[in-house]
Protein backbone atom coordinates (compact mmCIF):
# COMPACT_ATOMS: atom_id res chain seq x y z
CA UNK A 1 0.00 0.00 0.00
CA UNK A 2 1.32 3.46 -0.89
CA UNK A 3 2.09 5.82 1.98
CA UNK A 4 0.32 9.15 2.09
CA UNK A 5 2.48 12.25 1.88
CA UNK A 6 1.35 13.12 5.41
CA UNK A 7 2.69 9.85 6.83
CA UNK A 8 5.96 10.14 4.84
CA UNK A 9 6.42 13.57 6.36
CA UNK A 10 5.62 12.57 9.93
CA UNK A 11 7.57 9.32 9.91
CA UNK A 12 10.52 10.90 8.12
CA UNK A 13 10.89 13.64 10.67
CA UNK A 14 10.63 11.19 13.55
CA UNK A 15 14.07 9.88 12.58
CA UNK A 16 16.93 11.39 14.57
CA UNK A 17 18.96 12.77 11.72
CA UNK A 18 16.13 14.63 9.99
CA UNK A 19 16.40 17.83 11.99
CA UNK A 20 20.11 18.19 12.61
CA UNK A 21 20.83 21.92 12.65
CA UNK A 22 23.82 23.17 10.69
CA UNK A 23 26.58 24.76 12.75
CA UNK A 24 26.55 28.53 12.85
CA UNK A 25 30.21 28.98 13.81
CA UNK A 26 31.17 30.68 10.60
CA UNK A 27 27.99 32.63 10.28
CA UNK A 28 29.74 35.83 9.26
CA UNK A 29 32.80 34.48 7.53
CA UNK A 30 31.43 34.45 4.00
CA UNK A 31 29.64 37.77 4.50
CA UNK A 32 32.83 39.46 5.73
CA UNK A 33 34.85 38.10 2.82
CA UNK A 34 32.12 39.11 0.34
CA UNK A 35 32.00 42.69 1.62
CA UNK A 36 35.78 43.18 1.61
CA UNK A 37 36.14 41.54 -1.80
CA UNK A 38 33.37 43.72 -3.24
CA UNK A 39 35.01 46.80 -1.78
CA UNK A 40 38.37 45.77 -3.27
CA UNK A 41 36.80 45.45 -6.71
CA UNK A 42 35.14 48.87 -6.39
CA UNK A 43 38.38 50.44 -5.16
CA UNK A 44 40.29 48.97 -8.09
CA UNK A 45 37.73 50.30 -10.58
CA UNK A 46 37.94 53.70 -8.91
CA UNK A 47 41.74 53.79 -9.27
CA UNK A 48 41.50 52.82 -12.94
CA UNK A 49 38.90 55.58 -13.45
CA UNK A 50 41.23 58.12 -11.78
CA UNK A 51 44.12 57.05 -14.03
CA UNK A 52 41.89 57.31 -17.09
CA UNK A 53 40.74 60.76 -15.99
CA UNK A 54 44.36 61.91 -15.51
CA UNK A 55 45.20 60.81 -19.04
CA UNK A 56 42.00 62.31 -20.39
CA UNK A 57 43.09 65.66 -18.95
CA UNK A 58 46.24 65.51 -21.04
CA UNK A 59 44.52 64.25 -24.17
CA UNK A 60 41.61 66.71 -24.14
CA UNK A 61 42.82 69.83 -22.31
CA UNK A 62 46.29 70.06 -23.89
CA UNK A 63 45.18 70.17 -27.54
CA UNK A 64 42.27 72.46 -26.67
CA UNK A 65 44.74 75.13 -25.57
CA UNK A 66 44.51 74.89 -21.78
CA UNK A 67 47.91 73.52 -20.74
CA UNK A 68 47.90 75.44 -17.45
CA UNK A 69 44.84 73.49 -16.46
CA UNK A 70 45.73 70.16 -18.07
CA UNK A 71 49.19 69.67 -16.57
CA UNK A 72 48.41 70.55 -12.92
CA UNK A 73 45.25 68.43 -13.10
CA UNK A 74 47.26 65.55 -14.54
CA UNK A 75 49.80 65.81 -11.71
CA UNK A 76 47.02 66.08 -9.13
CA UNK A 77 45.34 62.91 -10.35
CA UNK A 78 48.69 61.14 -10.54
CA UNK A 79 49.23 62.09 -6.88
CA UNK A 80 45.78 60.80 -5.91
CA UNK A 81 46.39 57.55 -7.79
CA UNK A 82 49.76 57.10 -6.02
CA UNK A 83 48.11 57.52 -2.62
CA UNK A 84 45.25 55.20 -3.61
CA UNK A 85 47.73 52.55 -4.77
CA UNK A 86 49.49 52.72 -1.39
CA UNK A 87 46.15 52.19 0.33
CA UNK A 88 45.35 49.35 -2.06
CA UNK A 89 48.60 47.62 -1.10
CA UNK A 90 47.70 47.98 2.59
CA UNK A 91 44.26 46.55 1.85
CA UNK A 92 45.77 43.53 0.10
CA UNK A 93 48.00 42.94 3.11
CA UNK A 94 45.13 42.62 5.61
CA UNK A 95 45.64 39.40 7.52
CA UNK A 96 43.07 36.91 6.20
CA UNK A 97 44.01 34.30 8.80
CA UNK A 98 42.22 36.27 11.52
CA UNK A 99 38.66 35.35 12.46
CA UNK A 100 35.82 37.16 10.62
CA UNK A 101 35.33 39.76 13.34
CA UNK A 102 39.02 40.69 13.54
CA UNK A 103 39.30 40.66 9.75
CA UNK A 104 36.33 42.99 9.41
CA UNK A 105 37.63 45.14 12.26
CA UNK A 106 41.01 45.56 10.55
CA UNK A 107 39.18 46.40 7.32
CA UNK A 108 37.14 48.94 9.28
CA UNK A 109 40.38 50.50 10.59
CA UNK A 110 41.70 50.63 7.04
CA UNK A 111 38.57 52.42 5.80
CA UNK A 112 38.79 54.90 8.69
CA UNK A 113 42.40 55.70 7.79
CA UNK A 114 41.47 56.00 4.11
CA UNK A 115 38.53 58.31 4.89
CA UNK A 116 40.71 60.40 7.22
CA UNK A 117 43.34 60.84 4.48
CA UNK A 118 40.64 61.64 1.95
CA UNK A 119 39.16 64.26 4.29
CA UNK A 120 42.55 65.92 4.87
CA UNK A 121 43.41 65.87 1.18
CA UNK A 122 40.02 67.28 0.18
CA UNK A 123 40.71 70.48 2.13
CA UNK A 124 43.57 71.20 -0.27
CA UNK A 125 42.44 69.33 -3.36
CA UNK A 126 39.22 71.19 -4.08
CA UNK A 127 40.75 74.71 -3.71
CA UNK A 128 43.63 73.46 -5.87
CA UNK A 129 41.21 72.27 -8.57
CA UNK A 130 39.43 75.63 -8.48
CA UNK A 131 42.72 77.53 -8.72
CA UNK A 132 43.92 75.34 -11.56
CA UNK A 133 40.69 75.91 -13.49
CA UNK A 134 41.01 79.66 -13.03
CA UNK A 135 44.65 79.43 -14.14
CA UNK A 136 43.64 77.39 -17.16
CA UNK A 137 41.26 80.07 -18.38
CA UNK A 138 43.47 82.93 -17.20
CA UNK A 139 46.71 81.93 -18.91
CA UNK A 140 45.18 80.13 -21.89
CA UNK A 141 47.63 78.48 -24.27
CA UNK A 142 51.44 78.63 -24.25
CA UNK A 143 52.75 81.73 -26.01
CA UNK A 144 50.58 84.47 -27.50
CA UNK A 145 48.28 86.72 -25.48
CA UNK A 146 47.39 85.88 -21.90
CA UNK A 147 43.55 86.13 -21.80
CA UNK A 148 43.54 87.09 -18.12
CA UNK A 149 45.97 89.96 -18.65
CA UNK A 150 44.00 91.24 -21.64
CA UNK A 151 40.82 91.21 -19.57
CA UNK A 152 42.50 93.07 -16.65
CA UNK A 153 44.08 95.66 -18.93
CA UNK A 154 40.70 96.40 -20.47
CA UNK A 155 39.18 96.71 -17.00
CA UNK A 156 41.99 98.99 -15.72
CA UNK A 157 41.71 101.26 -18.75
CA UNK A 158 38.03 101.81 -17.92
CA UNK A 159 38.63 101.96 -14.13
CA UNK A 160 42.09 103.53 -13.68
CA UNK A 161 41.55 104.34 -9.97
CA UNK A 162 41.27 100.60 -9.03
CA UNK A 163 43.72 99.42 -6.35
CA UNK A 164 46.00 96.69 -7.70
CA UNK A 165 48.50 94.22 -6.23
CA UNK A 166 51.09 92.87 -8.70
CA UNK A 167 48.91 94.28 -11.48
CA UNK A 168 45.77 92.45 -10.35
CA UNK A 169 42.79 94.34 -8.87
CA UNK A 170 42.79 93.99 -5.07
CA UNK A 171 39.06 93.13 -4.90
CA UNK A 172 39.70 90.28 -7.36
CA UNK A 173 42.45 88.85 -5.17
CA UNK A 174 40.31 89.22 -2.04
CA UNK A 175 37.43 87.51 -3.84
CA UNK A 176 39.71 84.67 -4.94
CA UNK A 177 41.11 84.16 -1.43
CA UNK A 178 37.59 84.20 -0.01
CA UNK A 179 36.34 81.59 -2.49
CA UNK A 180 39.39 79.41 -1.84
CA UNK A 181 38.83 79.67 1.92
CA UNK A 182 35.16 78.69 1.53
CA UNK A 183 36.02 75.73 -0.72
CA UNK A 184 38.72 74.64 1.70
CA UNK A 185 36.31 74.94 4.63
CA UNK A 186 33.73 72.76 2.87
CA UNK A 187 36.38 70.58 1.19
CA UNK A 188 36.20 67.85 3.83
CA UNK A 189 32.41 67.69 3.57
CA UNK A 190 32.54 67.62 -0.24
CA UNK A 191 35.19 64.88 -0.10
CA UNK A 192 33.12 62.77 2.30
CA UNK A 193 29.99 63.31 0.20
CA UNK A 194 31.94 62.17 -2.83
CA UNK A 195 33.21 59.10 -0.98
CA UNK A 196 29.73 58.35 0.29
CA UNK A 197 28.29 58.30 -3.23
CA UNK A 198 30.80 55.66 -4.30
CA UNK A 199 31.26 53.52 -1.17
CA UNK A 200 28.39 54.60 1.12
CA UNK A 201 26.19 51.54 0.73
CA UNK A 202 28.93 48.98 1.16
CA UNK A 203 30.39 50.79 4.18
CA UNK A 204 26.93 50.93 5.77
CA UNK A 205 26.60 47.19 5.23
CA UNK A 206 29.93 46.65 6.90
CA UNK A 207 28.94 48.81 9.86
CA UNK A 208 25.71 46.82 10.24
CA UNK A 209 27.60 43.54 10.12
CA UNK A 210 30.14 44.73 12.69
CA UNK A 211 27.35 45.90 15.00
CA UNK A 212 25.66 42.49 14.71
CA UNK A 213 28.90 40.71 15.45
CA UNK A 214 29.65 42.93 18.43
CA UNK A 215 26.11 42.35 19.68
CA UNK A 216 26.57 38.59 19.40
CA UNK A 217 29.95 38.71 21.15
CA UNK A 218 28.48 40.40 24.24
Amino acid sequence: MEKSIESIWKEGFLKNDALITPKLNNLYEQKSIDIVEKFKRMYKVNIIALMAFALLMLVIALPSGMPYMALPMFFLFCGIVTIALKFKKKLENLDKSQNSYEYLKSFDNWTKEMIQTNTSLSRFMYPYVFLVMIAGFWFGSFGGDVPGNTMINEYLVNNPETLTVFGVPLFGLIGLVFILAVISYFGAAIGNFDLNIVYGRILDKMDGLLLDMEDLRK
Binding site: E2, K3, I5, E6, I8, W9, E11, G12, F13, K15, D17, A18, L19, I20, T21, P22, L24, L27, Q30, D212, L216
Partner: protein
Protein backbone atom coordinates in the same frame (compact mmCIF):
# COMPACT_ATOMS: atom_id res chain seq x y z
CA UNK B 1 17.81 26.95 18.69
CA UNK B 2 14.07 26.76 19.36
CA UNK B 3 11.95 26.30 16.23
CA UNK B 4 15.02 25.11 14.33
CA UNK B 5 12.84 22.37 12.87
CA UNK B 6 10.66 24.91 11.07
CA UNK B 7 13.67 26.63 9.57
CA UNK B 8 15.27 23.36 8.50
CA UNK B 9 12.11 22.13 6.80
CA UNK B 10 11.65 25.38 4.89
CA UNK B 11 15.30 25.82 3.93
CA UNK B 12 15.48 22.25 2.66
CA UNK B 13 12.51 22.91 0.39
CA UNK B 14 14.07 25.98 -1.22
CA UNK B 15 17.74 25.00 -1.43
CA UNK B 16 19.31 22.68 -3.96
CA UNK B 17 22.49 21.55 -2.26
CA UNK B 18 23.85 21.06 1.25
CA UNK B 19 25.94 24.22 0.82
CA UNK B 20 22.87 26.24 -0.23
CA UNK B 21 20.89 24.77 2.63
CA UNK B 22 23.49 25.87 5.18
CA UNK B 23 23.63 29.37 3.65
CA UNK B 24 19.84 29.66 3.71
CA UNK B 25 19.69 28.38 7.28
CA UNK B 26 22.32 30.88 8.40
CA UNK B 27 20.64 33.74 6.62
CA UNK B 28 17.27 32.91 8.21
CA UNK B 29 18.88 32.69 11.67
CA UNK B 30 20.61 36.01 11.06
CA UNK B 31 17.36 37.67 10.00
CA UNK B 32 15.53 36.27 13.04
CA UNK B 33 18.30 37.68 15.22
CA UNK B 34 18.12 41.05 13.53
CA UNK B 35 14.33 41.25 13.50
CA UNK B 36 13.68 39.77 16.95
CA UNK B 37 12.74 43.13 18.41
CA UNK B 38 10.20 43.73 15.65
CA UNK B 39 8.12 40.74 16.75
CA UNK B 40 4.99 42.39 18.13
CA UNK B 41 3.28 39.31 19.59
CA UNK B 42 0.30 39.86 17.30
CA UNK B 43 0.74 36.28 16.11
CA UNK B 44 2.26 33.08 17.39
CA UNK B 45 6.05 33.06 17.55
CA UNK B 46 6.06 30.00 15.26
CA UNK B 47 3.86 31.82 12.72
CA UNK B 48 6.29 34.71 12.72
CA UNK B 49 9.24 32.32 12.26
CA UNK B 50 7.46 30.63 9.36
CA UNK B 51 6.74 33.92 7.64
CA UNK B 52 10.21 35.27 8.12
CA UNK B 53 11.88 32.02 7.00
CA UNK B 54 9.72 31.85 3.88
CA UNK B 55 10.43 35.46 3.00
CA UNK B 56 14.17 35.05 3.44
CA UNK B 57 14.24 31.83 1.41
CA UNK B 58 12.16 33.34 -1.40
CA UNK B 59 14.40 36.40 -1.51
CA UNK B 60 17.54 34.27 -1.60
CA UNK B 61 16.03 32.05 -4.27
CA UNK B 62 15.22 35.08 -6.41
CA UNK B 63 18.71 36.51 -6.11
CA UNK B 64 20.16 33.05 -6.93
CA UNK B 65 17.97 32.88 -10.02
CA UNK B 66 19.05 36.36 -11.05
CA UNK B 67 22.68 35.29 -10.71
CA UNK B 68 22.10 32.18 -12.77
CA UNK B 69 20.05 34.12 -15.29
CA UNK B 70 17.22 31.74 -14.55
CA UNK B 71 14.08 33.80 -14.64
CA UNK B 72 11.26 31.29 -14.28
CA UNK B 73 9.07 31.80 -11.21
CA UNK B 74 7.88 28.25 -11.47
CA UNK B 75 9.47 25.09 -10.17
CA UNK B 76 13.08 24.08 -10.65
CA UNK B 77 13.87 21.65 -13.45
CA UNK B 78 14.58 18.19 -12.15
CA UNK B 79 18.25 18.23 -13.18
CA UNK B 80 18.94 21.23 -10.97
CA UNK B 81 17.71 19.47 -7.86
CA UNK B 82 20.97 17.94 -6.63
CA UNK B 83 20.22 17.64 -2.97
CA UNK B 84 17.78 14.79 -2.81
CA UNK B 85 19.74 12.72 -0.28
CA UNK B 86 19.44 15.08 2.66
CA UNK B 87 17.73 12.64 5.00
CA UNK B 88 18.34 9.00 5.83
CA UNK B 89 14.66 8.31 5.16
CA UNK B 90 14.43 7.57 1.47
CA UNK B 91 10.70 8.35 1.27
CA UNK B 92 11.24 11.75 2.83
CA UNK B 93 14.00 12.46 0.30
CA UNK B 94 11.66 11.57 -2.53
CA UNK B 95 8.93 13.74 -1.06
CA UNK B 96 11.30 16.70 -0.81
CA UNK B 97 12.47 16.11 -4.35
CA UNK B 98 8.85 16.25 -5.46
CA UNK B 99 8.12 19.35 -3.37
CA UNK B 100 11.04 21.15 -5.03
CA UNK B 101 9.34 20.66 -8.36
CA UNK B 102 6.39 22.75 -7.21
CA UNK B 103 6.15 26.50 -7.65
CA UNK B 104 7.57 28.63 -4.82
CA UNK B 105 4.18 29.44 -3.31
CA UNK B 106 2.91 25.85 -3.61
CA UNK B 107 6.02 24.71 -1.76
CA UNK B 108 5.15 27.07 1.10
CA UNK B 109 1.54 25.91 1.14
CA UNK B 110 2.36 22.22 1.30
CA UNK B 111 5.05 22.68 3.96
CA UNK B 112 2.57 24.50 6.17
CA UNK B 113 -0.11 21.89 5.49
CA UNK B 114 2.24 19.04 6.37
CA UNK B 115 3.18 20.81 9.58
CA UNK B 116 -0.49 20.78 10.60
CA UNK B 117 -1.08 24.50 10.32
CA UNK B 118 -4.72 25.55 10.18
CA UNK B 119 -6.04 27.19 7.00
CA UNK B 120 -6.31 30.48 8.86
CA UNK B 121 -2.66 30.32 10.00
CA UNK B 122 -1.54 29.30 6.52
CA UNK B 123 -3.44 32.21 5.00
CA UNK B 124 -1.90 34.57 7.54
CA UNK B 125 1.64 33.36 6.85
CA UNK B 126 1.31 33.39 3.08
CA UNK B 127 -0.91 36.46 2.96
CA UNK B 128 -3.82 34.97 1.11
CA UNK B 129 -7.51 34.16 1.57
CA UNK B 130 -8.20 31.05 3.76
CA UNK B 131 -11.04 30.04 1.41
CA UNK B 132 -8.62 29.31 -1.43
CA UNK B 133 -6.24 27.24 0.63
CA UNK B 134 -8.26 24.02 0.70
CA UNK B 135 -8.62 23.83 -3.09
CA UNK B 136 -4.98 24.66 -3.55
CA UNK B 137 -3.85 21.95 -1.14
CA UNK B 138 -5.98 19.38 -2.93
CA UNK B 139 -4.40 20.35 -6.25
CA UNK B 140 -0.87 20.28 -4.83
CA UNK B 141 -1.42 16.86 -3.23
CA UNK B 142 -2.64 15.49 -6.56
CA UNK B 143 0.43 16.83 -8.28
CA UNK B 144 2.75 15.41 -5.62
CA UNK B 145 1.05 12.03 -5.86
CA UNK B 146 1.53 12.10 -9.61
CA UNK B 147 5.24 12.90 -9.24
CA UNK B 148 5.72 10.33 -6.50
CA UNK B 149 3.62 7.68 -8.23
CA UNK B 150 5.48 4.39 -8.13
CA UNK B 151 8.55 5.85 -6.41
CA UNK B 152 7.44 5.24 -2.84
CA UNK B 153 5.99 2.07 -1.38
Amino acid sequence: MPYAGIIIKICRAYSNSQEDFEDYYQEVCLQIWRSREKFKKQSEWSTWIYRLSLNVCLTLLKSEKRKQNYFSTESLPNELIEDCKSFSDESLNELYKAIKQLSEIDRAVILLYLDDKSYAEMAEIIGTNPNNIGVRIKRIKQRLKKILDGKIN
